[in-house]
Each structure stands twice: as C-alpha cells, then as structure tokens.
C-alpha cells in the first residue's frame, strides 16, 4: 500500500511543485549570470545601476519559486489530511502510519529536488565562486600538509554537510507536518489560520531546534581545525578525531531523537485524536 500511496502523493505534489521549481530555475539562471557580471566589474557605477533592478527581480523570483516548491508538499499534506479529501483519505484501507510515511518520503524527495534545482540554476555562479576561492587558496598556501589528511577532511566535511542538510530538511518537514496536524486536530475551522501563524512562529523560534546539532557541528569543526592547523588549537590527531566523532554522534542523536519525536506525535494525533468534520 505504501507504493500506491507514494504514487498518488508524488503525482499530486508534482502538480504544484513544478510551477515553483520552474520559477526558481528560470530566476536562478539569470540571477547567477547577474551576480557573475557584478562581481566582474565591481566599482563600475554605470553598469551596476542597471544590474541591480533585474537582480532584485530574479532574487524575488528565486525566493517565491522556492517557497512554492518547498510548500507544495505541505499543501498536499493539508489537503489530503484536513481538506475535503480527508473523508476519502481516512476511509481507505490503509494504515495512518503508512499514509504519514508516504507523505514524509514525498516531502523529503521534493524538498531535496527543490534545492537541487536551485543549485543547478546557480551552477554558473557557484562554479565561478568555487574556482575563484580554490585558486587563491591553493596559490597562497606554500606548505602542504599530507594529501591524505586533506582528502579525509574533505570527505568529513562533505558527510557532515550532507547530514546537516538532510537533518534540516527532515526536521523542517516533520515540524511543519506536526504543526499542520496539531492545528488540524485542535483548531478545526480555524486550522488554516492557526497553521499560518504557527509557520511564522516556527521560522522565528525554529532555530532553537538547531541548537543540539549546532553544538555537534561546532565540536566537529573544533576537531577539524585541531587536525589541520596545530597552531590555532593544539591537540593530537586522536583528540581531533574524537571531537569530530563526538560532534557527529551528537548531530545524529539529536537528529534522530527530534525527528522521531515529531513523527511520533503527528502519528499519535492522526490515529487517536483526528475527527474529520
């Protein structure tokens, strides 16, 4: 049944998602070009003036497009669980946990896809920026540490970033799901209003949820710095790796605990408290 749920969740989410994705892609392409050209002729007042206005438009386009594509999954969630479709949703011979899992997987996929589209659109600028910094960085450093350490560090950085990225998406998905579920169950008629208010609140206070993984990340970075440059922080490689390990562990534990808590609460609400009216 999960497969069938996924099929329809993907289909329905895509209907709204592609609009946002297209807008953000179409805005990101010229945006990256504009940033590129501004960076090329910094100080040139005459060209800067005509570049700023389209830059703003493109920027707004990217933001709006991303908003639409990211929120398409929540729109689907709300409609399917609390809209008029709910009558059908909850009379299907499918477990509510399955329905929820399907929504979660769909949300992860489409959120990652949204960012992928954005990164793809900005690729021109990003490539430039990376080449630029990499070029200056390597030319300036005379003494090279062993190549092995560099590769390990790079890998760790990539893994940590990927984990952090996944964590952010998963946590935001689950917190939005939880908010929608909570408001849908307890506010009923005013659920949509409550959801909007709660979404705003989340964007203000949501950063607190990031505290634990942030701490983990800081530990990890501390360890990294210790590994790379003994002049800044003095510690042996063992300590460095231990710190990185502890950091990663903290991130993972925090991620799992927070995500599971939110998923569990949403599921309980859906199963025990939901009265579709």
């Amino acid at each position: 049944m999960l497969g069938k749920c996924l099929k329809y969740d993907f289909k329905e989410t895509f209907k709204l998602w592609w609009v946002g994705a297209l807008v953000s892609l179409l805005s990101a392409l010229p945006l990256s070009l504009l940033i590129f050209s501004i960076m090329n002729d910094i100080g040139d007042q005459s060209s800067f003036r005509w570049q700023v206005f389209p830059l703003m438009i493109c920027y707004i386009g990217v933001v709006v497009g991303m908003m639409i594509s990211l929120f398409s999954v929540y729109v689907r969630y709300y409609r399917h669980f609390f809209g008029k479709e709910a009558y059908l949703t909850f009379t299907l011979p499918v477990k509510r946990t399955t329905l929820f899992t399907s929504k979660y997987i769909t949300a992860l996929f489409f959120n990652i896809a949204s960012y992928a589209i954005l990164i793809f659109g900005m690729a021109g600028f990003m490539g430039y920026a990376i080449l630029d910094t990499a070029g200056s960085g390597f030319s300036g450093s005379a003494e090279r540490e062993s190549l092995v350490t560099m590769v390990i560090v790079a890998l760790i950085v990539i893994v940590v970033y990927a984990l952090f990225f996944l964590y952010t998406i998963s946590l935001s998905t689950l917190s939005y799901f939880f908010i929608i579920t909570f408001c849908g169950v307890y506010f009923k008629k005013y659920s949509l209003l409550a959801i909007i208010v709660a979404f705003f609140c989340l964007s203000f206070f949501g950063s607190y949820a990031m505290m634990l993984p942030m701490m983990g990340g800081m530990l990890g970075i501390f360890g990294l710095v210790g590994l790379i440059d003994a002049n800044i922080v003095s510690m042996g490689p063992l300590q460095g790796f231990a710190l990185i390990g502890a950091g990663l562990l903290l991130v993972i534990v925090a991620v799992t605990a927070l995500n599971m808590l939110l998923a569990f609460l949403s599921k309980e609400l859906l199963e025990r408290k939901l009265n579709v009216t």
């Binding site: 049944m1 069938k4 099929k7 329809y8 209907k15 409609r79 809209g83 008029k84 479709e85 709910a86 009558y87 059908l88 909850f90 009379t91 299907l92 011979p93 499918v94 477990k95 509510r96 025990r272 408290k273 939901l274 009265n275 579709v276 009216t277």
Partner: protein, 267 residues
Amino acid sequence: MNGSVNECLTDRTAENQAVETPPADPLSEVMIESTPILCCKDLCKSYKKNKPVLKDFNFTVEAGKITGLLGPNGCGKSTLLKLVSGILVPDGGDILLCGQKRSEKSNALISFLPDSPYFSGGQRVSSMLSYFADFYPDFDMTLAKNMLADLGIDPKARFRTLSKGTKEKVQLVLVMSRRAKLYMLDEPLGGVDPAARDYILKTIIGNYSPDSAVVITTHLISDVEAALDDFAFMNYGGQILLSGSADEVREREGKSLDTLFREVFAC
C-alpha cells in the same frame, strides 16, 4: 437434471400447495444465524462538552438487510456513519464490524458515501475510478464504467465542471461499484433529480447480496420506503425511538413509513 425438474413440476401441480423445496434463487437461501455485519455498543460521541450527539447508542445491522436510518436533521445519523467509517473517533463504546473491533483494516469492508463531495476539482472522473481500483481490491471497474454510461456521465470530465447532482452520482457510482460488506450511504438521494433517484434505488437493490448490508440515511422516506427491510427512527441525542421491519409497519399500523414518520416527529 431434467428428471428433477419434472418431478418438481408434477409434485406441485398435483398438490397445489407449497412444499419446502430448495429454491434456485440465492436470495432465498436460509439465513444462518451469523454475527451481525455492524454492531454498535454503548456508543458515545459529543462535539461539545455536555452536549452528546450520541449517548449509549446501540445499533445492529444484520447481513442481507437494507436498513433505513431515519430522523430529523441533526439527530446524529451522519455522526454515527462517520464513527463507523472511522473518520470520527468515538468518546466511548465499541464498534464491531463482522464481529471484529473497528480498526483501519475494517475500512476494506466498508463502502461509505459521505454527505459532501471529497474529490479535488481538477481530477477527472476516470482518474477517480483508477484511484478506487488501486486502493480497493473489491472495486469492479467494468460495473463502474457501465453505471457511468447509464447515467450519461463523461469519464473524461473534470470533477470541477460537474453539477452538484452529477458529483453525487459519480461518488455513488464509486461507492456502489465495490463488493463491500457494509454500504453506508449518507443522503444518497438528497441532491439528485427524480429520474436519477430511481436509478440509484435500482442500483442499491440490484447490488443486494445476502451477505452484505446497506444502511441508508435520508429525509426522502417515501422514495426509499419500498427498498427497505428495516427502519430505525432516530431522535435528538441519538436515541432510537422506533425500529422494526418496514413492511410490518404498514401491516400493523395501516400507514406508510412516511406517514408514521410525520406523526412521530410532528412539530
């Protein structure tokens, strides 16, 4: 084969009286005492505190029966159906379906027609059919398509473009095309024209099976009366005022169900 038929014929013509022979029609098979399809025990539900919609509500539906749940507006008919279908959670009491406590699994046994449309406007009728076919293994696609053709509904039409009555017809087609144990129809005749009403009634009757049950709520008693086995009059607070066999009312009281309803609930 032939011999037995002839025997039966001569036997009958000679005696001219009823002899208990095993009838050919599956409808007349002797009903074995079995667990009821639906059994509600001391069901309680209130939307607001101290204002119960259902209080210690008991209700049983046997297999092979078409039951009419009749009562004034707001007496809790829809609430009951929603509780059984699982979109509302009861405050207390038990709901048993085919002897088993209600769970998400029971959804496979129930075909529920709610009182409001539940499809999003952009969907095509044909995609709704495949949606049902995907999720309900007991959905009969050819039957659904035939019924849509009978009612003159274009499967390619989008839900948004259909009139209110047509929307109801589409949903009824979906619900009746399943081979479920319990059909629960909330006001199936409310918003449709008289011709479609006849068709819907015929569909419900034609769908009859000795091991499934149908519960219908409606205000249009005179329309459904002839199709009912049993009836239950429900009053505010979810009490059952009167229940029994629909045709026996006519025999006993000498008045139609519609007349009786008007008397019982006279304002």
